[in-house]
Amino acid sequence: MKLKRPSIPYIFWMVIFTLIPIVLILYSSFTDRNGNFSFEAFSKAFGYYDVFLRSLWIAFISTLICLILAYPLGYIMSRQKASVQNTLTMVIMIPMWMNFLLRIYAWVTLLQNDGPIDIMLSLLGIHTTLIGNQGAVILGMVYEYLPFMVLPLYTVMAKIDKGLIEAADDLGSNKYIIFKKIIFPLSIPGIISGITMVFVPSASTFLVAQYLGGVDDIMIGDVIDRIFWSDQNTGSAIALILMVAILVFLIILNFFGDEEAVAT
């Protein structure tokens, strides 16, 4: 039974379908159309630095809003009876199981000119364009990824030993101190996995900005999509930079997590 052999097929699978494709991306980034070594793809990729920065910015703001919205909800959920907790978890998960394009499309229909929200606002005398700007893109992102923030926060907070809170209460801590000394430090792993699960997909997503944003709001994922079909070298270089940027982000984030775990 103590065999290592059953993992061999998967190791082969990972080499063929994960390692080789990444090596190909690397190779393609450092060559030109004719397969000669070249930095041309990278210099072209850096021409999109503004799109890169915008994607990171949109992802950052969306992650922040998700965290602010999800934290109280995760806490509220973790304080309920087991049956209410289960039901609420299900309620949060169901929209996640709807197709991602359909969820974005729902916002397109809601926000479009002469759509329901636009009609309601104009009845109130407010005339404005709701769609085609960065705000709409961020709204779409928050809508898309909010459950990914709520669930890890809730899971971690539900595991907090109620005895700890009662003990602190008995020893005279007020609610603020209980939050600061117990709930917040113990919820940090949830915050970190929530940030990871929202930031990574929102920084690299494509289509959300195409559907909800204006011409100037496209994100790096949209650029990869647009370029890759005609210029694989530049497309690979952008994908590589995106991958490295996300890797660095994850390493920094995990470093913070370890620090905090040691400190408490």
């Binding site: 509220i76 197709n99 499309y105 995106l242």
Partner: protein, 265 residues
């Protein structure tokens, strides 16, 4: 629940469900705009007459089923093997498996596309059903590994040894003890794979070649052409299916929990 908590929870739920509800409402609208023109079921009948959509639905289900089946087998075997490695080698293998989960979908998509294009030239094939299936197995398997590994770690090997002592051969002991113990992990791995595969757009988009259609791709084409209430009808149906499935799973889980509690007593 306190009043403030209730209001907050209700607001978030409203935010999450309002777009879906509006979409469903307008799938019954007898008009193409967002102005209510009366009730109709035409968009639903149109949907079922659309052979392309039915075909895409079939493809989506086939891919999801085959990919999660294969991923469950591959991932369970992998988890059993990985569990028997020690120290750094094991951590390395686990991290290698997680790369696929952590790397952005679009990177997985384009890197696989690069490989399939090259392999296609070398071995003379075109991207389609098979390449999408291979890609889906690739991104589903790590989730199975993730679900099965903790169950192996908590497994009691002496039960397996006891089965052998009591006259089971190795295969019987494996099937009756190990598989039985790992079943819940395998099942949740399978379910996760199935839903991720069904929901995937990005990776399918890059590995599907010229003509292979799944539901996500179909929706993408539909939303790009012109906004059609047929999409609303499709969303409504998919939402109801998900809702029913989730409720059934939830009720079943609770019954199981109750049974377990009763057994324990």
């Amino acid at each position: 629940m306190k009043k403030l908590s209730k209001i907050y929870t209700a607001l978030i739920i409203f935010f999450m469900y309002m777009p879906i509800v509006v979409l469903i409402l307008f799938s019954f609208n007898d008009g193409k705009t967002m102005v209510w023109k009366g009730f109709t079921l035409n968009w639903y009948t149109d949907l079922f007459k659309d052979s392309q959509i039915i075909n895409s639905l079939w493809n989506t289900l086939m891919i999801a089923f085959l990919a999660s089946l294969f991923a469950t087998a591959l991932g369970t075997m992998a988890a059993i093997g990985i569990n028997n490695f020690k120290g750094k080698k094991r951590i390395f293998l686990q991290n290698a498996s997680n790369i696929e989960i952590l790397s952005p979908d679009i990177v997985t998509g384009v890197s696989l596309m690069l490989m399939f294009t090259l392999a296609g030239v070398a071995f003379n094939f075109k991207m389609g059903f098979l390449t999408v299936l291979l890609a889906h197995i690739t991104f589903c398997t790590p989730y199975v590994v993730l679900n099965v590994l903790p169950r192996i770690r908590h497994m009691d090997y002496s039960v397996y040894e006891a089965a052998l002592d009591l006259g089971c051969n190795q295969w019987q002991a494996f099937r009756k003890v190990v598989i039985h113990e790992l079943m819940p992990g395998m099942f949740s791995g399978f379910l996760m794979s199935f839903t991720f595969s069904m929901d995937d757009f990005v990776i399918t988009y890059f590995t599907r070649g010229a003509s292979f259609q799944t539901l996500s791709i179909q929706i993408y084409t539909m939303t790009h052409q012109r906004i059609s209430p047929k999409i609303n009808a499709l969303s409504a149906l998919m939402f109801v299916v998900v809702l029913v499935l989730m409720v059934i799973i939830n009720i079943k889980d609770r019954k199981l929990e109750k049974q377990n509690v009763q057994k324990a007593l």
